[in-house]
């Protein structure tokens, strides 16, 4: 290693330090924007120093420069366009697409490295091959898996679990082919074996995500995010670059933590989710609550009076609110109540939305100040002091049955909505959540049901508050 390449490694370490500091600044909404800027600066440093390295080495051909520059510019344009135009409700799809291209690029880097070394004198180094096959397997699985996840979130592919007959056997076969070829590559350099690894991994990615239901997407996206990070770190081993190794490890850690948080919040093990079949997501089967429970429905006027004369209201938003695009209406209702001196806060369950923290972004977009957005642990003790809990489009995460053993959601952390003095539930019908069970909250004597689309309901309540109490 001459002094030039040593200095270059030092600059990569500087870039990696920027990523760590940038992520650290994400620990508060007040500093998060600066964190993103620091991280961007790190990325610019890394790209610029790589350009300097390419120029210094002088081995890049004219055509080589052309494909790199044109490829980067077209990619940047595509990234910029999608980042500017994406709806906040569609964020999970976009993150999934970025996982796909990141994992895909990492796999391609390793594939190229292998092809190049294989034809070069001296051949492939055994120790590099381990990382090459890991990168190719993880990167390829992430690529197709993320595309399928994005397709499911976008509604191009059904959100319901797709069960293929003998799918599990095919998965096992694909895994055996991929790992077998990979093991063969460790002993003998072989391009056909690499091709086999790539194809089997791509197919495995598709079959891994297809059987997973739409409601489990927060976990799947987090997991694929961790995969992408790991693939990039493996690519770093292949090209022997510290920036890739550190950045990849950071992302792998972040994805891993979020995967665990999401799985815990759904009270399901990762294995259970990956085997699929439970999270049927958007299915709304209309079924009455068990006969002994009395369901009371409420009209806009009564709901408005309850809200307007409360001193503390907690809004519990669920994915139904986002699906109905009711976040702006809900924020408007909250602002109106606040202007009357009502204390309003939002109770956000960890899996409210289609990716970790999704509901916070949707409400931030609707101009809800972030100090009003309360996490589950923070808000649960406050329900006892709330005059009204207004549940909009949330179901299973409010079901007190989770506190008892012996049912589908036993042990799942829930919002203690039933502790509030009164409860208004906005819901289209008595349909089930993804757990497919009755919500005992609806039979609670303190609960009133407001049967309507979330957007229409909040608009009606808002105008009722305005007319009745001025």
């Amino acid at each position: 290693m001459n002094s030039f390449t040593t200095n270059i490694q030092l600059v990569y370490v500087l870039a990696a330090a920027c990523f760590v500091v940038g992520l650290h600044l994400m620990n508060s909404p007040a500093t998060a924007r600066r964190g993103n800027q620091v991280s961007t600066a790190g990325m610019i440093i890394a790209v610029v120093i790589t350009l300097i390295l390419l120029i210094h080495e002088g081995t890049v051909t004219a055509l080589g420069w052309t494909v790199l520059i044109v490829g980067s510019l077209l990619g940047s344009a595509a990234g910029l366009w999608s980042a500017r135009t994406v709806q906040m409700t569609a964020m999970p799809q976009l993150v999934s697409m970025f996982n796909a291209v990141g994992g895909g690029a990492a796999a391609l880097v390793a594939i190229y490295g292998y092809i190049h070394d294989e034809s070069a004198p001296g051949g492939v180094l055994g120790s590099t091959t381990v990382f090459t096959v890991l990168d190719v397997i993880i990167g390829s699985v992430t690529f197709t898996g993320s595309l399928i996840a994005a397709g499911k979130l976008q509604g191009i592919i059904t959100g319901n679990p797709v069960m293929i007959k003998g799918g599990r056997a095919i998965n096992v076969a694909l895994a055996v082919v991929a790992l077998g070829s990979a093991a063969f590559m460790l002993t003998t350099a072989s391009l056909p074996a690499l091709l086999l690894v790539v194809l089997a991994s791509l197919a495995f990615g598709v079959l891994m995500v297809l059987p997973i239901g739409g409601a489990d997407m927060p976990v799947v996206i987090s997991l694929l995010n961790a995969f992408t990070g790991t693939a990039v770190a493996m690519a770093g081993f292949v090209v022997n670059n510290w920036a890739l190794i550190i950045a990849g490890a950071l992302v792998g850690a972040s994805g891993g933590i979020l995967t665990k948080l999401m799985a815990d919040a759904m009270n399901r093990s990762l294995g259970n989710i990956m085997l699929g079949g439970f999270g049927t997501g958007d299915s709304a089967i209309a079924a009455p609550v068990a006969g002994d429970a009395q369901i009371r429905s409420i009209a806009a006027d009564d709901a408005a009076i309850q809200l307007a004369y409360a001193s503390k209201v907690i809004i519990v938003p669920g994915y139904g609110l986002a699906a109905a695009q009711a976040q702006h209406g809900a924020a408007e209702l909250a602002a109106l109540l606040e202007s009357r001196g009502v204390e309003v806060s939002y109770a956000i369950h960890p899996v409210a939305g289609r990716m970790p923290g999704h509901m916070n972004v949707l409400l931030a977009e609707a101009n809800v100040p972030y100090p009003q957005l309360k996490e589950m642990e923070e808000i649960n003790p406050e329900f006892g002091r709330a005059d009204v809990a207004l549940v909009i489009g949330a179901n299973d995460v409010t079901n007190p049955a989770a506190r008892r053993p012996g049912n589908a959601i036993s042990g799942m952390p829930i919002l203690d909505v039933d502790q509030a003095k009164s409860i208004i539930v906005v819901k289209r019908s008595m349909g089930h959540g993804y757990a497919g069970m009755d919500n005992e909250l609806y039979g609670n004597p303190k609960t009133s049901m407001y049967f309507a689309d979330a957007k229409k309901a909040v608009a009606e309540m808002t105008s009722a508050v305005k007319t009745l109490v001025g």
């Binding site: 991280s39 490829g71 990234g79 594939i111 990070g229």
Partner: protein, 117 residues
């Protein structure tokens, strides 16, 4: 096992632990921007794509370099821009100049704000 490999593995393990430590402190409110920021960081694979150019001297090399550069650049640029866009929305309170708009119509007030900033 070569010294370089041991160094790389050491860096990997330490970075993983740093990541767990740093990210464990991020509040749930910011989990979506966090994931999006992590997303843009794995766009560092662009550096790997650029390094392909050093030795790419045939059609296969050029095609792989092109696709990898395209994917990685989309990842980097898109990731940072959308993270910035999201974080801009997180406000401590409704901006003084805008509460009327914010209350009347969240949808409509969104557009002009984005143009202004």
């Amino acid at each position: 096992m070569s010294t370089a490999l041991v160094t790389d593995l050491t860096i990997f393990v330490l970075a993983l632990l740093v990541g767990i430590e740093v990210i464990g402190k991020v509040p749930a409110t910011l989990h979506t921007p966090l994931m999006s920021a992590a997303n843009s960081i794995h766009g560092i694979v662009l550096v790997g794509a650029m390094l392909i150019g050093l030795t790419a001297h045939n059609a296969v090399g050029y095609i792989l370099a092109f696709v990898a550069a395209f994917f990685a650049a989309a990842n980097v640029v898109g990731g940072y821009v959308v993270t910035g866009r999201m974080l801009k929305m997180f406000r401590r309170k409704i901006p003084a100049a805008e509460p009327a708009k914010a209350q009347l119509n969240g949808q409509a007030s969104k557009q002009p704000q984005e143009v202004q900033r």
